[in-house]
Symmetry: D2
Subunit: 320 residues, 4 copies
Amino acid sequence: MSAGSNKFGSLFQWSTFGESHGPAMGVVIDGCPAGVEFDEALLVDRLAKRRPGGPGTTARVESDQPEILSGVFQGKTLGTPIAVMVRNQNAQSTDYDEIKAQPRIGHADDLWTKKFGEWDHRGGGRASARETVNWVIAGAVAEMFCLAAQANVRVQAVLTTVGGEPVKGTSDPQLLERLQKAKLEGESFGAVIEVRVKNPPPLIGEPVFLKAKSEFTKAFMMINACSGVELGGGFHLANQKGTEVHKSHESADYGGVRGGMTTGETLHFRLAFKPTSSILDVAKKGRHDPCVAVRAVPVAEAMAWAVLADLILVRRLNQL
Amino acid sequence: MSAGSNKFGSLFQWSTFGESHGPAMGVVIDGCPAGVEFDEALLVDRLAKRRPGGPGTTARVESDQPEILSGVFQGKTLGTPIAVMVRNQNAQSTDYDEIKAQPRIGHADDLWTKKFGEWDHRGGGRASARETVNWVIAGAVAEMFCLAAQANVRVQAVLTTVGGEPVKGTSDPQLLERLQKAKLEGESFGAVIEVRVKNPPPLIGEPVFLKAKSEFTKAFMMINACSGVELGGGFHLANQKGTEVHKSHESADYGGVRGGMTTGETLHFRLAFKPTSSILDVAKKGRHDPCVAVRAVPVAEAMAWAVLADLILVRRLNQL
Amino acid sequence: MSAGSNKFGSLFQWSTFGESHGPAMGVVIDGCPAGVEFDEALLVDRLAKRRPGGPGTTARVESDQPEILSGVFQGKTLGTPIAVMVRNQNAQSTDYDEIKAQPRIGHADDLWTKKFGEWDHRGGGRASARETVNWVIAGAVAEMFCLAAQANVRVQAVLTTVGGEPVKGTSDPQLLERLQKAKLEGESFGAVIEVRVKNPPPLIGEPVFLKAKSEFTKAFMMINACSGVELGGGFHLANQKGTEVHKSHESADYGGVRGGMTTGETLHFRLAFKPTSSILDVAKKGRHDPCVAVRAVPVAEAMAWAVLADLILVRRLNQL
Amino acid sequence: MSAGSNKFGSLFQWSTFGESHGPAMGVVIDGCPAGVEFDEALLVDRLAKRRPGGPGTTARVESDQPEILSGVFQGKTLGTPIAVMVRNQNAQSTDYDEIKAQPRIGHADDLWTKKFGEWDHRGGGRASARETVNWVIAGAVAEMFCLAAQANVRVQAVLTTVGGEPVKGTSDPQLLERLQKAKLEGESFGAVIEVRVKNPPPLIGEPVFLKAKSEFTKAFMMINACSGVELGGGFHLANQKGTEVHKSHESADYGGVRGGMTTGETLHFRLAFKPTSSILDVAKKGRHDPCVAVRAVPVAEAMAWAVLADLILVRRLNQL
């Protein structure tokens, strides 16, 4: 991997490390200004939301206790790099020995080995969804910064369909049942997540290569199994006429972005997730999620916070 | 705008400059290795494909004569920055005087002014689609490099639907008629473009934040009016089950990417474009495209080449 | 050359292009905020100070007329990239044909050719001191920004010794005579330049890898023929005891930096230049400077401005 | 601190974290290719050389046991980020309570607090020389990579004068005596370190802003208390004539660099260190080094390896 490929953000910049079955995962946030109140309870809560172990998720259990190694002193950020580490406790790498011999369909273990010559094949190594524990940590710190910059900003991601069927609310009992059944059967589902940012700071996002729309889209598309992203009306708009869509600034489903910038209106994205490729026999031994999108919900929120934090800082440099 | 917001790419890096109605547009490519044959005819051809003036496009006519200022000597790249400039000839800024007073619906002139305090309001300034002349130049040089690295790689973007109706081939007479009519009426259409990369170099794209899928998606989403991007089966996959999709590596519509990497199979993306917001009276005076996606076709190709070139260089650093 | 090797600065970032005997030199400044008054007279003045043609310098004459291609509108910066180009007019590349066959001692034409495979051998190509025209342009824009940020900051570079002999004031007649004689004889001299920054903004420079002292030093050391840089007491301090040096904050010759930061006191650096390597027969045909440090004076000033501008912007991100 | 200010290198890139009296120090190396043999004994040895506790150094004792958190598997680098952490064990922060009230002369605790609003005042926080434990770790990994790329390259830093008096060999008994005495008396000394790189890979370093000479100089100048850097003949050359210096490529003391590049000859730098500013009463309570340059020797070596590794990787991108 080359320089920068484990780094996210221009100014609110963070880099991550850790293999799924190595000693630890970690993130170093370099770019958070000094003086942000460090809300450790928020961090713990965000990690809890991501943690596997729920009925519809992988059997792997990790306590995900974050250890803050630097950058925070007496409850505030120092303006220095904030390093946070989480130990990998439940690394059953023997499960994966047979994977080495027989690559999992839809996974990329075989490709990584070709690419790097060396590869930690256990559980996907660096490419595992385990990595998103780092993203959630970075997102939590980004959230603290964003709230300090604009108190009423909120990010909300919601699972709206699973396998084509709509999800009812945040704890749909029928959904849980379907997922549990799928897990036993080695089945998996595609899904759609909607992400909304309410009260985003206006005028963030730059005109050319740092547009708000491309920054958010990129961040969501980095999530494993995400296979499409729409802003506002998205693909639906592609089938329409301008006179229908652009009746006024208000009516059009721009998704909260004009030019490359936020207008201050709610940002709205839809994310498509393909069905988990860990199916059938091999997958059942390696611990697997019948619908990765379930656990991608807090990850999508984290990435939205990370993009917001970054664009807020970039905005500081616009004017004299 | 802050550092980096006018820069594209990690290693095959290029930065652009120029306001729509300023003296010139230009791009500086810093990162193209020495020894690439510089195919000036290819560059001219790619610019011609993007150039406005066709029946379904804006009335603005620019000759777009590229001037190579540096980095090429005796027909080959020197390994030094390649600077290419195009003069803005047809800058009718008086057309835009009334825009200053009355911002165009769907455009962002009002927002840019708030954001920067200062803004060149003429024709969108830096945020204009005029900027894509730079992207096409960079894409052409990226193409030269990619072909030198892997001779059989090809990028092809095709307009597949306009306003929800399928396009027949590359010069559909009915389409031209519809667009001409729309132009007269101040109407505009959404559209879908499909981009395919045939024979992509395998194993390009990195596991975490430089995934092939997020790099291409980001690049396409930077195009003005692009409001959604899908990889392979995209949103369709979101409605499916794993056992349907993942029967084998071959059957699944992965879009040519596994993990974050190219497999060597054809890459396949779909891009949604919303209807141009330049409609009605104001728009007709400022020169306008009834379907921006028509001109986005060569731009999408250019961005695909740019991403390929970048990921090919990053790949060089994977192993000892 | 790889990405970034033609780029200077973290946030007040600029990149340069142009071969000594190619069509043009140019710089693109990406990171100057909007709203800075663009003082074109200042730019012209700074270029005039650098321009060759004086009695002690190379015979190459260039008018160095800067053409502003973007980023400035109605006398102010737009916050978009500021591109400035200067044509190469007096490119007598035939002078250099024999250089191709017989590399100049002390020059690196032979090495560049090995390194890149391809090289524009004419006059040093990209490695020529001609490149500093770009640095002076970037420095002039940086100066405009710095003055807007802190009105009383001043940068002054002075040639203090040439060939070991002290220089008397800014237009020492004996010096001119020595240089003219040296030029005829194909002789060259080493020299020392002192750079002072008066009223620097305090608290700029970061604690670890972006220290004020290392940023200035790096920038000066980039100048061709610069072979050493000292901060304040420099090598003299290396021979002393702490009880002699650190009597108080005032007495010690810290050079205006503590920790990695400016204190607000005058910054003080000394730069060593080795004698020009263009001596003897070959050199006389290629146009040559008997003392490159003479022309390095405005270049050192430009680089000091560039570092100041960059660190001022970085400072903006320190606190919430 | 803003993004990037805790990051070193373009391609062999590493970022560091940790406050002197916080829980841990650490470094994340992002850019080391896969397949490098990870020589843990070398790492331990390099840390041992830097560790305080010797007769002429601070009383602070740290075991500096490196913990490898990621990026290494079965004795080889994976091509993924290599994270290494060292716990801070001997953090006697009560020593520093009175420092908070009475800032140490020559230190910058007061300035950091102004700069960031918040600051971990204990022992210099992020600006402490404790940070160099990270640099030594990064340097050790860089060394492993460099040796894999070119087996016979060697870096050697030597303390040549202390307080103006020459040092005899690597364990001069008179020097130890002087330092021990100085420690008791609260005295400190300036010093000179010479760094040589033998058998450097030729043709590394780029022509404009990534010259070998400016990259090494910058890296050395980042070391606390370093107040000057010379390449080869340095300031001595400034007093000479070209005809004396440039008799041939061999005779001139270029320091192994021509253009911006290594020639393959031994690289030679001299580094000036000012006397430690921790003197007198306050300093004696905070643990102090009578001559920081003693411990800067392995740090200078580490930084030289880091620069070499980076430029070797950049060189890979020069040609097609």
